[in-house]
């Protein structure tokens, strides 16, 4: 099957620092893939290159048959990629429902003119948007919290809301930046099931950045490991666990850089 996303030789520099160095990576349609690596390895920069927040200096990013590198973020989103953030970035002074409805922005067409005159297009789209937002709210398990201000929601609910917002634009590819960060083991397990459920239910392709090895190894079909901007390994979870370069990247510097205990053990034992 053709890959949904095909990144070839992507390079992004900041002054002298090469944050992403000649990276190749593909994601098959309908699969769950992960990018892992130590802090500062360039994972989030890679995300930002895909979503148009940065323009890579070199390389191509082909999404769904079209090159997308260099497009603006809003243009990328309109083509079917949406994302969540490592440190949750909701619109905190808007309600949960409104947050999701903002996510639906690219699917709506009505203009200021329709809004002032309340044309039939306005009514139709607004009703659809509201229904869809309520449906997504239920889908992510936040039924009844729609009229709460986003900032007042508990942490886990905020994570879910952010995913609901990303889903509202009906993406083909969903990028999740550390979706289980700050969660306890039980919440993490729920999130794993939820992500799998997303793929199975909605047929999405999903790309994850994740630190929690348990999560990565459980749900990924393919993993790329980054270190200092370069891809040092790629393959199925089982191959990654045995790859000596990966173990070195994590454990070799793990002790020095204060890598957390359970990450290290997860890598070693999983």
């Amino acid at each position: 099957m053709a890959p949904i996303l095909d990144a070839q030789g992507v390079t992004k520099r900041f002054g002298g620092l090469v944050a992403v160095n000649n990276l190749d990576f593909t994601i098959e349609e309908g699969s769950i893939a992960s990018v892992i690596g130590p802090n500062g390895a360039g994972k989030t920069t890679f995300f930002n290159c895909i979503t148009g927040f940065y323009t890579p200096e070199e390389g191509h990013i082909i999404f769904d048959g079209h090159e997308i590198q260099g497009l603006r973020p809003d243009q990328v989103t309109k083509r079917g990629i949406s994302r969540t953030y490592q440190n949750i970035r909701l619109f905190s002074n808007m309600t949960a429902l409104e947050n999701i409805m903002v996510g639906r922005h690219p699917l709506m067409r009505h203009t200021w003119w329709d809004a002032i005159l309340h044309t039939s297009r306005y009514h139709k789209e607004e009703e659809e948007a509201l229904e869809e937002a309520v449906r997504l709210l239920n889908f992510v398990g936040l039924a009844g919290l729609g009229d709460q201000m986003a900032r007042n929601l508990p942490y886990g609910a905020q994570r879910r809301l952010e995913i609901a917002r990303a889903l509202a634009s009906k993406p083909k590819l969903l990028l999740l930046d550390e979706p289980t960060a700050g969660m306890n083991p039980q919440e993490t397990t729920e999130m794993i099931h939820f992500i799998q459920h997303l793929r199975d239910e909605l047929g999405l392709s999903i790309l994850l950045i994740e630190h929690d090895m348990k999560v990565v190894m459980t749900i990924s079909e393919k993993i790329a490991v980054m270190d200092f901007g370069k891809k040092i390994a790629e393959g199925k979870p089982i191959d990654i666990q045995r790859n000596p370069r990966v173990i070195e990247a994590y454990l070799g510097r793990g002790a020095a850089s204060g890598l957390s205990e359970n990450e290290a053990t997860a890598t070693a034992t999983a």
Binding site: R89, F91, M94, W112, G146
Partner: protein, 555 residues
């Protein structure tokens, strides 16, 4: 982070603080200027200013030290009052030997006499300390009341002061005879004050009773449903009827005041789109007001500067269009700027427009400092016959009311749309909004465009209303007025704009004593609002939609 101070030391410091604040209000001249307005009997607004300064300090102190015994608190309150009074009293005491007036122009014999209660220096000094101490103790005693009574008394007191301040308003009304028995020379007389005070307390007491009844009723849900408030259309109808008849009750002068408030409401609604919805801090907003006014002037004036001799209605679309275009054109270069740069650049833009308006370079077209005269009034004609020529403030009241209605309607409907949500998303987080597929360029320009056209509309009406325009009418202070009124009302809130305009534009128009200290009070209000009440006095209510959507799909 604040280190724990002992209560007595804290009382000392707060006393000094109260003294400094009272000195400040005295030396900037507020106390003396305000003393010419009597609020209740001989109690002037000047006294009230000092009283409130002391009251706020003492009150916050008491809130902070609730755990102390009442006797101690009473003593501490007295100490604070005495220190504050001492500090304030030093001014007239030393003033008899030292000429402060060389530097501090407000340190006048009149102020001294006021602070000495008209007594000789020594007696006045002692008296001030005593009065101040006793006042603080009274405040403490009020603070000891049970919660409900404390709030009722404090609020009733404030209401009495406000009513006293605004009593001229009642005198100007066509139905003033009803109020006359309660009025003094300026302000309420003592009987009036007692009546207002008791009525306010009674109102709060009734409110409390009603609340209790409601709480009981809420237990029985069906009954609560039956007791549902008036339907929305009825409320709206009453409001419209009230607004239509208002100028007939108020008379010409008060209608003029309302008209100024109304023009600010239109501008406020426009700036609210830019600042409140989209989060773009625009300080050059007056420029669009000026453009609207000047376009109206140039197109309709019958003076030599008039070029087109259009009617008001023909020129109005052009005025709005010019402002709109300018709004978008200004928006273009500032699109990529950081928020705080935007503030300065728009400020600069407002100044450029003003500088151009007074300059000799453009004098042949827009009259330079002499402005444009003889701008014509709107006329409604039908079949060749003049039905109505807008002449008096009362006529213009209706024109402005229509303008507000349109602006309100547009602003409300925009907010409830994809565009409105996109604006708010951008206000919350620009990067994320863009990642949600929102084209920032388009929505920023639409925000600027709508904001500018509202302002242009206000400017056009203003030009026709006053009949002649001068560059001096379009200074930066207007931008700041509009910004302040949105912030006081509540950023992003439509009713907040109305409340803010009434408070910040209506009050100074009514109380000429305020006019001189208008900008000072706006400045203080901006700081105080951001520190204490950033959501404003009338924030937009959160819309409940999830439940509503459920009902809809359930039907």
């Amino acid at each position: 982070m604040e280190e724990k101070r002992s209560p007595w030391k804290d009382a000392w410091l707060n006393g000094l603080l109260a003294g400094v604040i009272m000195l400040y209000f005295s030396l900037v001249g507020m106390v003396k200027t305000f003393s010419s307005r009597e609020v209740v009997g001989a109690l002037s607004l000047g006294h009230v200013t000092l009283l409130l300064s002391l009251g706020v300090v003492v009150y916050t102190f008491l809130r902070r030290h609730k755990q102390e015994s009442r006797g101690t608190l009473l003593g501490q309150a007295a100490l604070m009052g005495a220190i504050g009074g001492f500090l304030l009293g030093l001014l007239p005491l030393l003033g008899q030997w030292v000429d402060f007036r060389f530097m501090l122009v407000q340190a006048s014999p009149e102020l001294y006499a006021l602070l000495r209660f008209g007594q000789n220096p020594t007696v006045g000094f002692v008296l001030l300390i005593a009065v101040s101490a006793v006042t603080s103790m009274v405040i403490a005693l009020i603070d000891f009341l049970p919660d409900f009574w404390r709030n009722a008394v404090v609020n009733a007191f404030l209401i009495t002061i406000v009513v006293g301040m605004l009593s001229d308003l009642f005198k100007g009304m066509t139905i003033h005879a009803i109020f006359d028995p309660f009025m003094g020379a300026s302000g309420l007389n003592y009987i009036g004050a007692v009546v207002v005070f008791l009525l306010s307390v009674a109102y709060f007491w009734m409110g409390k009773r009603r609340g209790e009844i409601k709480a009981e009723a809420a237990k029985d849900k069906t009954e609560a449903m039956a007791k549902k408030a008036l339907p929305r259309w009825a409320v709206a109808g009453l409001l419209v009827a009230f607004l239509l008849f208002l100028p007939l009750i108020l008379g010409s002068y008060l209608s003029h005041v309302l008209n100024m408030v109304g023009l600010y409401v239109i501008m406020g609604l426009g700036l609210n789109i830019v600042v409140g919805y989209a989060g773009l801090l625009d300080l050059g907003y007056v420029a669009f007001f000026a453009l609207g006014a000047y376009t109206m002037g140039v197109l309709t004036s019958t003076s030599p500067l008039g070029v087109a001799h259009m009617t008001f209605w023909e020129a109005l679309p052009f005025a709005i269009l010019v402002a709109l275009t300018a709004g978008i054109l200004l928006g273009v270069p500032v699109l990529r700027m950081r928020g705080d740069y935007l503030a300065i650049v728009t400020l600069g833009f407002g100044e450029i427009i003003r500088i151009l308006a007074v300059s000799d370079a453009l004098k042949p077209f827009i009259g330079g400092a002499q402005g444009i005269l003889s701008i014509i009034k709107p006329i409604i004609k039908f079949g060749g016959r003049t039905l109505l020529e807008f002449q008096t403030p009362i006529h213009f009241y209706y024109l402005i009311l229509v303008g507000i209605g349109i602006a309100f309607f547009v602003a409300y409907r925009l907010r409830e749309s994809r565009l409105g949500r996109a604006w708010m998303a951008m206000r919350e987080d620009e990067d994320v909004a863009e990642a949600m597929g929102i084209d920032l360029v388009v929505i920023k320009l639409t925000a600027f465009g709508f904001g500018a056209s509202f302002s242009g509309l206000a400017g056009a009406i203003f030009a026709s209303y006053v009949g002649s325009i001068f560059p001096a009418s379009f200074n930066l202070l207007i931008s700041i007025n509009v910004l302040s009124l949105i912030i006081v009302g509540g950023v992003g809130s439509l009713p907040g704009v109305v409340v803010g305009s009434l408070a910040l534009v209506g009050l100074p128009e009514l109380l000429r004593e305020f006019a001189e200290y208008r900008m000072l009070m706006y400045g203080l209000a901006l700081i105080a609002m951001m520190l204490l009440k950033p959501e404003g006095f009338w924030p937009e209510p959160i819309r409940q939609r999830e439940l509503h959507a459920g009902e809809e799909s359930g039907d």
